[in-house]
Amino acid sequence: MTTLREEVCTLLQEFGLPAVRVEPVSAEVIEFNGLFSSLITLINMAAPLDHRLWFVEGVLPHITRADRARWEAALAARTPVQVQVAFKSVDGQVLDFEMRSSAPAAQKKLGQSILCVFIPYTNPFFERVHAAHLSEGRALERCRIRNELHKGVSQQLLGAAFGCRLLAGKVVKLSEELGKEASDLAELLNEAVLELQNLVQSGENQG
């Protein structure tokens, strides 16, 4: 059975908000949702981090010294706090977020942890994550169709094309007319083979 503690980041994901739960002292990550993971990946693509350090190395360095002091003081006093986090993506774009943090005393059911939720200011972060997910999905689907074509349809059509040509060669000895029909059928299959070949090649060109 899942507890509220395990569900909170998932719930925030449903609201479209990146969220992470960290240890109060070490700030090591306890729980996170997919949007937070995508955000960290987006800004640390060049050097992937251990997920436990995502907050310490992926978030804290992007908070100003003054805000960080304010954040630490508020959490020590167990009061909610809001600070600005200015992430920089690998392509140099600045992604501004407001990080709202809640201390353990404020949410007893969440146990000994700090919940941090990221709310975007003006940057189209969600559109970027959404586009990245869509693009990944499309690539996976293209790959699946291509593999199906290679393993299944292409192979069967190849056998059928040769089988049909073989049959045409046999039938023509029995009847010129039937042979013509069989040959036309073989030609039709030939065209199907060429169509499929074009399809496979265009799929490969799209990567």
């Binding site: 074509l149 290679h150 393993k151 292409s154 192979q155 069967q156 059509l157 190849l158 056998g159 059928a160 094309a161 040769f162 089988g163 040509r165 073989l166 045409a168 060669g169 046999k170 039938v171 023509v172 010129e176 042979g179 013509k180 069989a182 040959s183 073989a186 030939n190 083979v193 060429l194 499929l196 070949q197 496979v200 090649q201 490969e204």
Partner: protein, 141 residues
């Protein structure tokens, strides 16, 4: 211009005499129909379904042409040609479901004369066999 079935058959039989073909393919239906069709065109065809059998049988078969699938259950067509060493036939055709520039380059580097992307038409294969036949005749004369 449309060609009649008998004419096509005669055309395909032209100059196809005595070419020995070794076919390596593990798809049962494909290998069966390819073998029967090539035999109908008067080629002498030997088949193997995997790399180990092919390595064992090719030296004895003294084939002129190797037609091999690249994806084999116990290896690949590129390894096959490499392992054949001195027993390589004088003409080799690779067949593969993958036809990127890289795949074609790799086939060439391995020693294949041509890389056919599946599915291909029987005519495409026969055209290459005709080329192999011509080469053999040139070497013999």
């Amino acid at each position: 211009m449309c060609r009649g079935p008998r004419e096509t058959l005669l055309k395909n039989n032209f100059s196809m005499h005595s070419l020995r073909v070794f076919l390596v393919e593990n798809h049962e239906d494909t290998v069966r129909y390819m073998q029967l069709y090539l035999e109908q065109l008067s080629y002498k065809v030997t088949v193997a379904a995997d790399m180990v059998s092919a390595l064992r049988e090719i030296p004895e078969s003294r084939c002129d042409v190797l037609i091999s699938d690249i994806g084999l259950p116990d290896g690949d067509g590129w390894q096959l040609l490499e392992k054949l060493g001195d027993h390589r036939p004088q003409f080799a055709i690779a067949m593969s479901g993958y036809g990127t520039v890289n795949d074609q380059r790799r086939s060439r580097a391995a020693g294949y004369d041509h890389h056919l992307v599946k599915p291909f038409t029987p005519d495409a294969l026969v055209a290459l066999l005709r080329e192999a036949s011509k080469l053999k005749e040139e070497k013999q004369s």
